[in-house]
């Protein structure tokens, strides 16, 4: 008897809570975003968009897969209009899961090169993230460096720091190599690379740069914007570490530097489709593109935008032209290759 009434009390408490906590229905034009880009790396742009257009932007950030899962489970009821990710593979996965819709926009097609967007318009790249070699200026001559493939050569034994194969950046890099050389050759390469590690993989990209600067190893693979963040850091130690290393663009005579994108797609059940498309066009526009370069040292997708001071200092490079969607398809194969090669 008492248990029943207790449960009833609990149930009504739950109902009360949920009615209190349900999101308020907002009037006016708005657009809702699920973003895998961190709040700091997207909110300022969204605020600009709101200011210019009067459209209210609502934002949830989170990890890619979790957001994708949320989109899938919410189905046709999803409040999200736009999915923003920081990896092309995840956008391709979202497209395959059927949660995105194709968008035709001349403005987007004109501003974004073909290898950085989906051919059918399901998603568009908004910024380019390159993963070159970063080396210790004191101990390595650029002439000794050539390609990613060369990093497996015995001459680099004990000289390479790389973060764990859990990192999607490494997975995507290996997927790129698989697309050029096939699984078997890439596995041999990965084994050679692992044999050259100075220590088991650990830490993030900045940690790799610091390890190179401190002399723990001579070279590493990192995304450029982490180095950019250190170059422009408040912290003297980070600035100093960044000054001791330099960027080398590998594979310039062959396949080009490995690049991935951060990008976005409009969801299949978007209720604010027009605002969503407007937002994508805004993010591919001049001011937003410059922001990506100036604030986060990413490369603009729009080739017409001049690079920022930080980017200019690293020089120009030839990027791998394999469509970034391919990297997503090969991601699982890349993880298996790294597992087999013993890349922790």
């Amino acid at each position: 008897m008492s248990t029943v009434s207790n449960y009833r009390a609990l149930l009504s408490a739950f109902c009360l809570l949920s009615s209190l906590l349900a999101p308020p229905v907002l009037a006016g034009e708005e657009v809702n975003i699920y973003s895998a880009r961190k709040e700091d790396l997207i909110k300022p742009l969204l605020d600009d968009f709101s200011k210019q257009t009067g459209v209210t932007v609502n934002l949830v950030t989170g990890k890619e897969e979790a957001l994708l899962q949320r989109l899938q489970s919410e189905g046709a009821n999803t409040p999200a209009d736009v999915l923003l990710t920081s990896d092309a593979g995840r956008l391709a996965a979202a497209q395959q899961a059927g949660v995105l819709q194709a968008v035709k926009s001349e403005a987007l097609a004109a501003r974004i090169p073909a290898s950085y967007r989906d051919p059918a318009g399901y998603w568009y790249g908004l910024s380019v993230r390159a993963r070159p070699i970063v080396y210790a200026k004191e101990r390595v001559k650029p002439a000794e460096l050539s390609t990613y493939e060369d990093l497996a050569a015995p001459k680099w034994k004990g000289k390479i720091c790389v973060r764990s194969s859990d990192s999607v950046y490494n997975q995507s890099l290996v997927a790129g190599l698989i697309s050029h050389h096939g699984e078997a050759k890439t596995e041999t390469w990965a084994k050679g690379l692992v044999a050259n590690f100075a220590h088991p993989p650990k830490g993030g990209d900045r940690d790799q740069i610091k390890a190179v600067a401190a002399g723990e190893c001579d070279l590493t693979l990192v995304n450029t914007y982490y180095l950019g963040g250190m170059v422009n850091a408040q912290d003297a130690a980070e600035k100093q570490a960044a000054a001791q290393v330099a960027v080398f663009w590998p594979n310039q005579k062959t396949t080009g530097v490995h690049v991935n994108i951060s990008g976005a797609g409009v969801t299949a059940h978007a209720r604010h489709r027009d605002s969503a498309v407007r937002l994508l066009e805004f993010l591919a526009g001049d001011s937003a593109q410059r922001w990506y370069a100036d604030v986060n040292a990413e490369y603009p997708v729009n080739p017409a935008i001049p690079p920022s001071v930080t980017l200019k200092a690293w020089g120009e490079f030839k990027a791998d032209t394999v469509n970034v969607a391919k990297l997503g398809e090969l991601n699982a194969a890349a993880v298996r290759v790294m597992d087999r090669a013993g890349w922790k």
């Binding site: 609990l10 409040p79 298996r336």
Partner: protein, 523 residues
């Protein structure tokens, strides 16, 4: 998750078995044993010293020993890496002072399995300390006096009487610690230690195989079942109700001579390394970066974190009380099973719980929506998914075991003949709960409330996945900056989490000192 786990996914599973599965399982077991052992080694002596002995600084240590609880494990991992890494100030200083290079000296690697064990043990031992101290304080003086009159010295009394009598509390504490260690993702991932938990995410996110991920999660749950079974087994032989609490506690054993510095060291080292050093490092970072990162939204974040934690803790406490009391009233096999299965959530990684909560809620929303469209022609949209309700639901799934442990431990200390007496005087079960148990349980309930509060304030993965639009917490902000490798920038938010946790932790300590069943003045 279980439904998904039943479908076979041969290829990926075979690949795992061929390559990394042994590592995952081995590392998880070592982590669990290491952290459990470490927590016992730190927690039990400290609990015994502060509850049974007298030495300088005892009153201070009583609550200082709880402070590491306020620090999330991933944050202590980040701070120690910053301090002790090859490129960190300590090693750089050593190299500069002595002119060493990399080959000249050996320095233990922080980012390794032993490192992860130490980090987790440092922030998790308070669970053992807390429950052990409550148990030691609670032990009837009579038993100790009897052993004394039989000529047992302090050591013998500790090992032969106090420790065995405190066993249920110690095991409860250690199993909580071990579950938390199994579920940890942030620390082991940052340290590059592959465990079952990191494996789940790798298979799920990297290989896009949710089935194999669910199967790995199933394997993780097997470990937890084993843990819980061990706990039950060890409790089975004995009943731990005290027969009387009326006599006074024996006076504290005054430590003299060489024992004093040892006692002080045993109580000083854990909070020093588990709290003061990391909090100090955070403060140094925060002082430097606060002007750039702290703005008007900071207060909003703080309010969000506090209100969410308070609401969730209240609800979870209510649930725990219902379950615990339900089990006491009607201890059928099914009730016991329900209570036990509710206890599993603590060892499941937050993200897995979040997805597990998301799927049924979204399905419920869809069916309500379909029903409303059919009958009223209106769409109700999402009623639960993407609201704070979903979040609170996930917290309940994850943290109910913490509250339940505490409530159950409290209930077992109340003799069943109390219930019988009250019932024979005509009280209904509900009246017994309100007028007898709740007043006597005050300490346990407060403990449960505060433990869950501190846990929710620190919680990250489920919050990240399930929170509604434009809603952030301190933990989310700290994580976003830290995962972008801006450790110094994240320090202000991390420090705010720590400070928000300290208050409850101190309250907790007071609650334990004051609440001693049998002495509680009934209000």
């Amino acid at each position: 998750m279980f439904v998904t786990a039943l479908h076979p996914s041969g290829a990926v599973w075979r690949h795992l078995a061929d390559t990394v599965l042994t590592d995952y399982a081995l590392h998880s077991v070592l982590l669990m044993l290491g952290v459990g052992g470490g927590a016992l080694l730190i927690g039990v002596p400290a609990a015994w010293l502060t509850s049974g002995c007298e030495f300088p600084g005892r009153r201070l240590f009583e609550w200082a020993l709880l402070l590491p609880m306020a620090i999330p494990a991933y944050i202590i991992a980040y701070t120690y890496t910053g301090l002790l890494d090859f490129a960190g100030p300590l090693q750089t200083g050593l190299r500069e002072t002595f002119g060493w290079t990399r080959q000249d000296y050996l320095f233990p690697e922080v980012r390794s399995l032993p490192g992860a064990i130490v980090m987790l043990a440092l922030v998790l031992y308070p669970y053992v300390y807390l429950l052990a101290r409550a148990a030691f304080l609670d032990q009837s003086a009579a038993a100790l006096e009897v052993s004394r009159t039989l000529g047992a010295g302090p050591w013998r009394r500790f090992f032969r009487v106090s420790l065995p009598m405190a066993r249920p509390a110690l095991i409860a504490g250690v199993s909580l610690v071990q579950m938390e260690a199994l579920a940890d993702y942030g620390t082991v991932q940052y340290f590059g230690v592959s465990t079952l938990t990191t494996g789940i995410f790798r298979v799920w996110f990297g290989m896009g195989d949710s089935t194999a991920a669910a199967q790995l999660a199933g394997l993780l749950l097997l470990f937890v079942f084993a843990l819980l079974a061990l706990e039950r087994l060890s409790r089975r032989q004995a009943r731990f109700h005290h027969t009387g609490n009326r006599s006074q506690r024996p006076p504290r054993l005054a430590l003299r001579g060489a024992w004093r510095p040892w006692a002080v060291a045993a109580c000083l080292i854990p909070p020093l390394f588990g709290f003061l050093i990391p909090a100090g490092q955070l403060t140094v970072w925060a002082l430097r970066t606060a002007p750039q990162v702290v703005d008007g939204r900071f207060l909003q974040l703080l309010a969000n974190s506090l209100l969410l934690a308070l609401g969730a803790a209240g609800l979870i406490l209510l649930l725990a009380l219902l379950l615990g009391y339900g089990q006491r009233l009607r201890s059928s096999r099914w009730v016991r099973l329900a209570v036990r299965s509710a206890g599993l959530g603590y060892a499941v990684p937050g993200t897995v719980i979040a997805i597990g909560v998301m799927l049924p809620l979204a399905a419920l929303d869809r069916s309500v929506d379909g029903w409303a469209r059919q009958w009223f022609g209106v769409s109700t949209g999402l009623l639960l998914s993407g609201t704070l309700t979903a979040l609170v639901f996930a917290y309940s799934a994850r943290f109910l075991p913490v509250a339940l442990h505490s409530v159950e431990a409290g209930l077992t200390r109340i003799r069943p003949n109390m219930d019988a007496a009250a019932r024979s005087l005509g009280a209904t079960p509900r009246a017994v709960l309100w007028r007898v148990h709740i007043p006597m349980l005050r300490g346990s309930l407060l403990t449960a409330l505060l433990l869950v509060f501190v846990d929710v304030i620190k919680e990250l993965p489920a919050t990240l996945v399930l929170r509604p639009f434009n809603f952030n917490t301190l933990a989310v902000r700290a994580y976003e900056l830290a995962s972008d490798e801006r450790l110094a920038d994240s320090a202000s938010f991390a420090l705010a989490i720590v400070l928000a946790g300290i208050g409850p932790v101190i309250l907790l300590s007071r609650a334990i000192s004051q609440a001693r069943p049998g002495y509680d003045p009934v209000p």
